[in-house]
Assembly symmetry: C2
Homo-oligomer: 152 residues x 2
């Protein structure tokens, strides 16, 4: 049986990403490799400044602007994605169902529609339960096109 070290796995996945970047005509730069490495080896979501801090602790210095731009690029190529959302505050009506917070956000006109569905909530709760996770509440955002914008 072959044993593969964690670091070599990371190297492999980073290499895949790099290959995709190059395939699209982007350069395989040092900063891009560094960011990819950190993303690959870290378990949880990282902010640009998280990444900056992790690298700094290793004596590698990247400008935060660079990190923002790299992350934007990775997201645009679906190699990474952002967590929701604008971080804005949202109103909710008083009679809101527990766990109901779903938003459909139109990419074109920006319209936001909120809805609730108990069954969907229950399924999601059950699903999380299978992982041993006890859901207190959940929020979700659907990004796409509203009926009006879709027709155009």
């Amino acid at each position: 049986m072959h044993l593969v070290s964690r670091s070599s796995i990371i190297a492999l996945v980073v290499r895949d990403s790099i290959r995709i970047l190059q395939g699209q005509g982007y350069k395989a730069t040092k900063p891009r490799k560094l960011v990819l490495e950190v993303l690959e080896e870290t378990e949880k979501p990282l902010s640009p400044y998280d990444i900056k801090g992790i690298l700094r602790a290793r004596g590698k210095y990247l400008n935060h602007v660079t990190i923002y731009r790299i992350l934007d690029l990775l997201c645009s190529l679906n190699l990474a994605h952002k967590m929701l959302s604008s971080g804005g505050f949202v109103k909710c009506s008083l009679d809101a169902i527990e766990g109901c917070h779903r938003f459909m956000v139109c990419q074109h006109c920006g319209a936001i529609r909120e809805f609730a569905d108990k069954e969907l909530c229950q399924e999601e709760n059950d699903f999380a339960q299978d992982f041993g996770f006890h859901t207190e509440y959940h929020l979700s955002e659907f990004s796409g096109l509203c009926s009006q914008c879709y027709r155009k």
Copy 2:
């Protein structure tokens, strides 16, 4: 048939919220009423600075700190809630399934676990479809307790 103006409806809902505030020992202050009014009458999610701007346009001036504090209070009483999330960036593996971006975030230890489920995605897509909404992708976050923290 009775016709009720939109403004009187807003007044009613705001009054409900105010009543709940007072029931918990919080004062019914002018700033709180103003923020509630804006939240009630506006269709889409608003950031603290959105609210500040709307009020300013009406000649009402609230300090942004006040708005933050009011929104925090409303959220703590479940009269409002925030959209996700830290706004941070998230890594995603290359083989990620379209529309798979789900995170379970432990309120206690902060652990974040990402998972994917095609069926759940499909159901959500279908659900949105019923509203005429065409989903491009969706992200969601489950907030609760991981198995370890739940046991304690």
